[in-house]
């Protein structure tokens, strides 16, 4: 168990901004010295994994290219992260065997519905992301993702006025549905709210452990 690398699962509907969130949060963590691997569960294509690899690995050089991995899920994104996460777990076994230097594994789910959750054997921490363009009713309607995730991220707040979404109502509903659990309003196209998400990961997933690379230097 000591070789287990902490894992964050990110789920949410198609187009809610899962990949863009990863592209914003990883640089914040990497610049602090954390070494990260990304597994992108693809529903139909390798596009998300390839975009993240190009941006984060090839261009920004924040992680090696082979540590952004696309995984096909047979068209069953929720099964791959909950009922039968075998293929994700098998991949993680290989990563934990070959990359003990890593501080964090991020698992992106394929786009799914509001009942998305991660198996606790797969992810230690579950971020569920929705966007205001999906309608301001989302937090009020609830669902496993909205209610049980460790962190709810509400994305694309810059579009609220254009789609007629009432952010104060979304805030009120999120508080009511999630009780004490946190939520963050973000704009993944800028950096609004991104620092907060990185802080949640460092505090609640990494327990404020410094990066392994820094520990080894001491």
């Amino acid at each position: 168990m000591s070789d287990r690398i902490p894992r964050v699962g990110i789920g949410g509907p198609v187009g809610s901004g899962k990949s863009t969130l990863i592209e914003q949060v990883v640089p914040v963590l990497a610049k602090q010295g954390y070494r990260i691997c990304i597994i992108s569960n693809d529903v139909i294509s390798k596009e998300d994994a390839e975009r993240m690899r190009k941006n984060l690995a090839t261009q920004q050089k924040l992680l090696p290219e082979n540590l952004v991995i696309g995984l096909a899920t047979g068209g069953c994104p929720h099964t791959a992260i909950r009922e039968d996460p075998s293929m994700n777990l098998a991949l993680i076994d290989e990563i934990e065997r070959d990359h003990k230097e890593l501080d964090l594994i991020i698992i992106e789910s394929g786009g799914d519905n509001v009942t998305t959750t991660f198996s606790p054997i797969l992810a230690d921490y579950f971020i569920y992301i929705i966007d205001v363009a999906g309608g301001d009713k989302y937090p009020r309607k609830g669902g496993l993702g909205i209610e049980s995730s460790d962190l709810l991220v509400i994305n694309k707040i810059d579009l609220a006025s254009q789609v007629g979404a009432d952010l104060s109502m979304m805030e009120h509903d999120a508080k009511r549905m999630r009780k004490e659990k946190p939520f963050v309003f973000v704009n993944c196209k800028s950096d609004v709210g991104i620092k907060q998400i990185a802080e949640h990961i460092i505090r609640d997933v990494l327990f404020e452990q410094p990066p392994k690379a820094l520990l080894h230097q001491r």
Binding site: S45, A72, G74, C76, D84, S86, A90, L91
Partner: protein, 231 residues
Amino acid sequence: MSMDDFADLSLMQLADSFFPSGLYTMSNGLESLYMQKRITSPEQVRNFIEVYFLQQIGPADCVALVNAYDFVEDNDTNALFDVDESIHKIKLIKEQRDASVRSGRQLAKCLTSFLRDDLLDKYVQAISSSKTPGTYPVSIAIAAKLFGIPKQKAALTLFYGFAVSVIGAALRLGILQHFEGQKILNELKPMIGETVQKYIDIPYNQMWQFAPQLDIIQIHHERMDSKMFIT
């Protein structure tokens, strides 16, 4: 509860698509053929599965399973690991090799969460230390032996699981509807029974597989940009 009832229920558990082995992520090349419009009907799906049964699953995977089952019975881990290595090496396509060991390893790990057995522990440790690959047929053999499932029924499970995996992929690709899927499963039963009988006593040094066209299709699948399935 009688031992027979326990074994029967265990067979259902192992053959159930609810059992976590990741088979639902595999189309075994069907996705490529569908995209190329070379398989578009339920009849063609059945033929596709039959070719796999006759040219790969029977002479290779099934032979590995029945030999592994015997070596578990004899508590001969060296021979068991040799079978594992052989079936791993005979798979020419990387996607297929990777899929087989990923399913096999997760199946074995799942068993350790509720079964206590020295041979199973040795197998999982050997996988962790890269002494054996941990292929799906060998893991199924170990599971079957520990559950008290007879060898012949364990072999039936292997074919059934493969057929369900391909038919499930065909359903999701829209090639057939659910009644047609069950019809194919029913039609495949005689061939499954006959193929198991044919290979149940074959030693693993006579293992073979020959399906070059399917191999080429799988190579093509490895290179597809847009895909739903791992294989």
